[in-house]
């Protein structure tokens, strides 16, 4: 099935408590390579037919209106994947 991936991340200037908790845990588990973590969301939308430019535009619209909260989040990526 063709899918569209939508990636949403907390805005860089906004506190991300989830990323903060993870970044605190990593060194305790022996991971010292990472100086920051931010946690966002990845949505996979299944498309029944073909992923046309129009469908992608709809996905972008859904990403901005429903899938993200523009006050605190950015849509960082909307793309079709075929596997």
């Amino acid at each position: 099935m063709p899918r569209i991936v939508v990636d949403v991340m907390p805005k860089p200037e906004i506190l991300d408590p989830q990323g903060k908790a993870i970044v605190g845990a990593l060194p305790r588990l022996g991971f010292t390579e990472f100086s920051g973590v931010r946690q966002g969301k990845r949505f996979e939308l299944t498309v029944d037919g073909e992923v046309t430019e129009a469908v992608l535009a709809k996905a972008r619209e859904a990403a901005e209106t429903l899938l993200s909260n523009p006050v605190i989040e950015d849509v960082v990526n909307v793309e079709a994947i075929n596997d």
């Binding site: 989830q18 908790a21 845990a25 588990l29």
Partner: protein, 250 residues
Amino acid sequence: MLRPSMTESLDLSAARVGVVTFPGTLDDRDAARAVRLSGATAVELWHADDDLQDVDAVVIPGGFSYGDYLRAGAISRFAPLMAKVIDAANSDAKLPVLGICNGFQILTESHLLPGSMVKNDHLKFICRDQVLRVENAATAWTNAYQAGQDITVPLKNQDGQYIADEKTLDALEAEGRVVFRYIGVNPNGSRRDIAGISNAAGNVVGLMPHPEHAVEAGFGPSSPAGPHTGTDGLGFFASVLNTILAGAKA
């Protein structure tokens, strides 16, 4: 309501029940109170220590350890103390371990119990007085109940939907490891109405509802006797005392 226990006439306070505190744990003082009300001694255990202080049983209480931000229980399970708990639970001594709510989530993340919890199907936090059926009254934490008995304890969580694959669920059912089931309504979409399960040996039990909030008349869930009167949760703590004292005699 409780079975006559083998604990009468013994000095219960010699039984030491540890209560673990992680950053973000909320119901640790409540669990300790429940332990005290049952007659045992509550021992505070700190997540960052690696000493179980000779406790005879461990309660991992509810809350939002590390905010539940990544996944409920995901970060806590790596605590130094958890390594000790996991070893002791799997050892021949079969340390009794009870995970309540966030504690249950920590036990599944630790692989002491199978399956996992995801968001409630309605996606909201829910707080309610919940009826449970005790399906297995032979575990370390349920032997003071009767199999088939219905009890009422508070339920309060956001990520309470128990899930596991069909094979795991079938095995749990076949081995009698579904210890509690939701009666009346399924409050969160849990598979097969499962509210709590145990490991194969029956010393490790996890459940989403909160027995430690149903131990004191006046502060518990509603019961037929009136609002806040329910004390059905006491059986958990009486059970583990039975288990501890039976072990001590053996």
